[in-house]
């Protein structure tokens, strides 16, 4: 009887699986991704290497020295000063202190600033405070300093915004009105991001992060790509990072396009191509973690999508590896054993340029 291997489920629960169970989950996970996106499965050799990484008896694993990649953060300074309800440490410090602490004490590759509401719609109202904070803090930072917020198309729909809610319209059977509402909201979103992007560029923004794009579906992605094109025209020196919100673009509208390409249903290897056309500097692939499947299944799936996206891309791919994405379990504090196995696999086998 072969020994059981200590591993995790997608919700972080510890489980013991046999080598054959892990190998089977890797095979099924890569097949699932390949079948959905129409991309190649991991080779037998890659699947066996992935098995070795998952089954490694060490608590944490890492890539070989020299193979490390850049890590962009997801609001780490905010995690220092915000409260426990927002998974923060609640330390009494300013945004500037938190940013510099993260950069200098934690040896960060990049640092970031974001409004606590983290969507461009509310940021627009306080943009002068945000640009001033960004400028003052940037005087002390050395690492690339990125300003981030979400396009968040949903914030433009009633009851949170002015546009009729397409979910209500769809339930009423009015598809045309639902599509028009999404187009109207996408235009408002585009204008807000453009406004904020221009103001941030004026204070020397070193990078603008449009985080969790397409969370409101294909119209959200369309508005994001449109505004990136405009910003790249107006401010070619300001890099723009676009992060995805899932492995495929949800077809809430179903018919919107960018450069004549239908966005609904796009998987990462196609997403990155339209991102490139828009002028995106770095694309953040996001692959959802299934809480019902094992770490092996989830990581195999994430690596398969990532490898195809990296292979298709001419720009750097930084894979999202936070809670519930990139094979990382969906729990408040992702276990380090699972996290490091996911990141090592994404870099070593998926060839990710960054995390």
């Amino acid at each position: 009887m072969s020994a059981k291997i200590r591993t995790r489920m997608g919700d972080g629960e510890l489980v013991a699986m046999s080598p054959s169970e892990i190998r089977e989950d890797i095979a099924v996970g890569t097949r699932d991704a390949a079948g959905k996106a129409g991309i190649p499965e991991l080779t037998d050799e890659e699947q066996e290497r992935l098995y070795e990484i998952i089954a490694d008896p060490s608590r944490i694993v890492s890539v070989a020295p020299g193979d490390e990649v850049i890590v962009t953060d997801d609001g780490v300074p905010g995690s220092l000063y915000c409260g426990q309800d927002d998974s923060g440490a609640g330390i009494p410090m300013s945004r500037g202190q938190a940013t510099l602490t993260y950069e200098r004490a934690c040896a960060a590759d990049t640092v970031s600033l974001g409004h606590s509401d983290y969507s461009f719609k509310p940021v627009k109202n306080v943009i002068s405070e945000e640009t001033n904070a960004y400028y003052n803090i940037s005087m002390g930072t050395t690492a690339p300093f990125i300003y981030g917020a979400q396009p968040n198309l949903g914030s433009y729909y009633q009851p949170d915004g002015p546009v009729r809610n397409p979910a209500d319209l769809l339930l009423g059977g009015d598809v045309k009105a639902a599509q028009e509402a999404q187009e109207e909201a996408a235009e408002k979103m585009r204008q807000d991001i453009l406004f904020c992007g221009r103001k941030l560029n004026d204070v020397g923004c070193e990078g603008l992060n449009l985080d969790t794009s397409a969370s409101g579906g294909d119209a959200d992605f369309m508005g994001t790509l449109q505004v990136v094109s405009e910003l790249k025209e107006e401010a070619p020196g300001m890099p723009v990072i676009v992060g995805a919100s899932g492995e495929f673009v949800l077809g809430m509208h179903g018919e919107v396009t960018f450069n004549d390409k239908q966005l609904a249903g796009m998987y990462p290897h196609d997403q990155v191509k339209v991102a490139e056309e828009a002028g995106v500097s770095i694309y953040g692939v996001a692959i959802g973690t299934s809480t019902n499947e094992s770490l092996a299944w989830n990581v195999a799936r994430s690596v398969t999508f990532t490898k195809a996206a990296v292979s298709a891309a001419n720009i750097p791919i930084h894979v999202n590896v936070g809670m519930g994405v990139g094979g990382v379990p969906m729990c408040e504090v992702p276990p380090v054993d699972a996290l490091t196995r996911a990141t090592k696999s994404l870099v070593e086998l998926g060839k990710a340029d960054g995390l």
Partner: protein
Amino acid sequence: MTQTTFEEAARSILSGDADAAAAIAKQGLEQGIDPLRLINEGFIPGINEVGDQFGAGRLFIPQLMLSARAMEQATEIINAAFPQQEGIAQGKIVIATVEGDVHDIGKTIVATLFKANGFEVIDLGRDVPTARIIEAAETNNVDIIGTSTLLTTTMTVQKDLEEALKEAGLRDKYKTIVGGAPVTKRWADRIGADAYANDALDGVRVAKELLKGR
């Protein structure tokens, strides 16, 4: 002839053509096809295919909604052909995204597929307090309470619902189904929910299973 009608029925659902679905339902009944066979072998395979294509990202929400409406039209006509009290109504469910969570795309899809499969659905929307869910269940005399959550921070509200039902002496009156991205079968077992659903189609299957032998 019967097989052709079944295929046309499935196609009408796949194309989201409510008029065609209604016409085929009437035509099938006029041909003397058993209403139960007409729904089970004609229209349900169509809506199942819609669910599969949606899950694979090959069909999008507007088409899903149109297909669901076509299914509702066909179901209504076939239901009327059953003798009184013997319709294909599957049961009544109250559904909501729990308090503190404003994500409702997934929940709306679930509600749509439940309706398409003959359930009567009371959709309370998003960010719904537990007390309101229970009140709606009582007022509408439902069979099932379904809750959705996308956040790890609001999962616990599903547990609160179980506790509130127990405290009110109502726990055995309803079947409870939990779903949402961070939710698992293990979570459902841990909090004492009757069932876990992985996605919308699974939810319909689980609900039918729960209501068997009522």
